[in-house]
């Protein structure tokens, strides 16, 4: 290993462009004064997060669009949704909202919704566009290849961003499509709609889900896949806060309590015996 990578080099210093708290004086964030910077003030909280992650300024209209997409698509106040359940159960068990929201955020990086589809869809869109640009490969071929390769790698065929558990179709697509109506013809958003046209039909019968549009829009804003993954950790929190608070205002332990006979053991594994 090169001497410059020895751990001792980092024992006393964290080298970063990000910023720091200067105790008693102030705070800098990527060279800007947190308290006096007009650009930071104008960007608001979500814009500041985007700036922190990327080091780039985002126009107000783009920040607003991120916020509005999250408001519409990932802030459901329904306690039954799996990640919301964690926040709800925290409330019903009389634990704290910090714990509940933390646990719920962690659970949101799931296989069938949330964090993993976001990343995999984003990654697929980037690879698809690159393949079209470099080799002029027809989109149908790219989709077929992705289905084959996901089957080999994951054991199931999937185009992330298309298809949804619990329900066919995604009620969020229509309002978000309206928000994105001014997208460019060579954008990732347009690519997502072109993919939808193909996979809606036989033999796939897959409807676009909101992960496709959230990922595509972020790709159009030139986030990297890692920046996008980090950004999306917050997207469900409005629903978490609401579900936690509502449960904490209900009787303790009263969130769909389950009786003993609801447990249905598989008989072959549960024959009574003595140790």
């Amino acid at each position: 290993m090169d001497k410059e990578n020895y751990l001792e080099n980092f024992e006393e210093k964290w080298n970063t462009h990000l910023g720091a708290w200067h105790p008693g004086v102030g705070v800098t964030l990527r060279g800007r004064d947190l308290f006096t910077s007009k650009k930071l003030k104008k960007s608001g909280w979500l814009g500041q997060i985007l700036f922190s992650l990327t080091g780039r300024n985002f126009k107000s209209k783009h920040i607003k669009l991120f916020s509005e997409m999250w408001r519409l698509s990932t802030s459901y106040p329904d306690p039954r949704i799996w990640n919301n359940q964690v926040a709800t159960l925290t409330g019903t068990a009389r634990s704290t909202p910090y714990l509940g929201v933390g646990g719920a955020i962690a659970v949101s990086q799931a296989e069938i919704y949330g964090g993993r589809p976001f990343v995999r869809c984003f990654d697929f869109l980037l690879r698809a566009k690159k393949e079209i640009k470099l080799n002029n490969t027809p989109l149908i071929k790219i989709i077929e290849k992705e289905l084959r390769e996901t089957k080999q790698e994951y054991g199931y065929s999937r185009i992330y961003g298309f298809g949804r558990p619990l329900v066919t179709g995604d009620e969020r697509i229509k309002p978000i499509r309206k928000l994105l109506k001014k997208h460019k013809s060579d954008s990732y958003v347009e690519l997502a709609f072109r993919i939808e046209k193909i996979v809606q039909k036989k033999p796939y019968h897959l409807q676009m889900n909101v992960a496709a549009l959230l990922s595509a829009y972020a790709a159009d804003q030139e986030l990297t896949v890692r920046q996008f993954s980090t950004l999306m950790t917050l997207c469900f929190t409005a629903g978490f806060l609401a579900c936690y608070q509502d449960a904490s205002e209900h009787q303790e332990g009263s969130f769909f309590p389950i009786r003993c006979e609801s447990i249905t053991p598989m008989k072959k594994n549960c024959i009574r015996k003595v140790w």
Binding site: N9, N83, L89, A93, S95, G100, G102
Partner: protein, 277 residues
């Protein structure tokens, strides 16, 4: 050689842990000592898991009878069952294919609370500190429950006496079985035996049967754990069931998991401010 010689300026003070560095690498341990014992050169292969856990927390050897008590307490807490809120939270993670750590985080977040959770155990343990084995103190505090706190804190007000089953009508059989078993591993004047003797009076004063938390609090007292230690141990000791039920959910998937489609009953809103709609 991967290092540059240098003395540290940031230090971590510890009551019980020591490390000797590898001569070639100050960031790799050559030996680790817990309360003076060489962990990998002496303890490993000799010590049980519960003996090592107690050594880390208390800095001393646990007696053989207490080691048995500790282990039996851990077994009694190891699986709260899939109906418990903390296990359900973890199963929500399993159903969706969330990361393993997230399932445990979810279980800890929920299991930390004041309804069958670690915070309730903390409060029950605090009652042991203040009431000791004074039946009159216990019953008067239980009858006076709830006492309003003067100040708000991160934890809401308790809604039932700590250690008592708010929805119970009689003490569940497993709780009684646990109490009986753990009493067998303690001396005559133990907190557990006192609890068993005075269970009827305590339940009458609290107007609820005792729960597993009451038994766990008495056991933690007999093991000489402070309320803070008891709270953290409780969080950890309930995880085996969390792990088992989560792994099972991974296999069964979301289709086999309850989802009450018609379960939400939207009540009419009271409009407090018609201008804000």
């Amino acid at each position: 050689m991967t290092t540059i010689n240098k003395s540290p300026t940031q230090t971590i003070k510890t009551r019980f842990w020591e490390e000797e560095a590898n001569p070639d690498n100050p960031f790799a341990e050559e030996a680790c000592f817990c309360a003076g014992y060489d962990v990998y050169g002496d303890l490993l292969g000799k010590i049980s898991w519960f003996e090592y856990l107690y050594l880390q927390i208390k800095g001393e050897k646990i007696s053989p009878s207490n080691a048995e008590l500790f282990e039996n307490l851990a077994i009694s807490l190891a699986n709260p069952g899939p109906r418990d809120q903390s296990v359900r939270a973890a199963m929500s993670a399993g159903v969706g294919g969330s990361t393993p750590a997230s399932a445990i985080m979810a279980a800890l977040a929920v299991g930390a609370g004041q309804y069958n959770g670690a915070r309730e155990l903390f409060l029950a343990s605090k009652m042991w500190e203040s009431n000791r084995q004074d039946l009159e103190l216990w019953t008067s505090n239980l009858r006076d429950f709830p006492k309003k706190g003067k100040r708000q804190d991160i934890w809401p007000e308790m809604e039932h006496p700590p250690g008592f089953d708010t929805y119970g009508t009689q003490c569940p059989k497993p709780v009684q079985q646990i109490l009986d078993c753990l009493c067998d591993h303690t001396e005559k004047n133990s907190a557990l035996r006192w609890l068993k003797t005075n269970q009827p009076a305590l339940q009458e004063a609290a107007r609820h049967p005792i729960s597993k938390i009451a038994v766990a609090a008495a056991a933690m007292k007999d093991l000489d754990f402070t309320p803070e230690e008891a709270e953290m141990l409780y969080l950890m000791l309930r995880l085996p069931g969390v792990i088992a039920h989560t792994l099972e959910r991974n296999d069964f998937g979301w289709r086999e998991h309850p989802f009450p489609r018609d379960g939400i009953n939207l009540l009419p809103l009271e409009m407090k401010d018609s201008k804000t709609i």
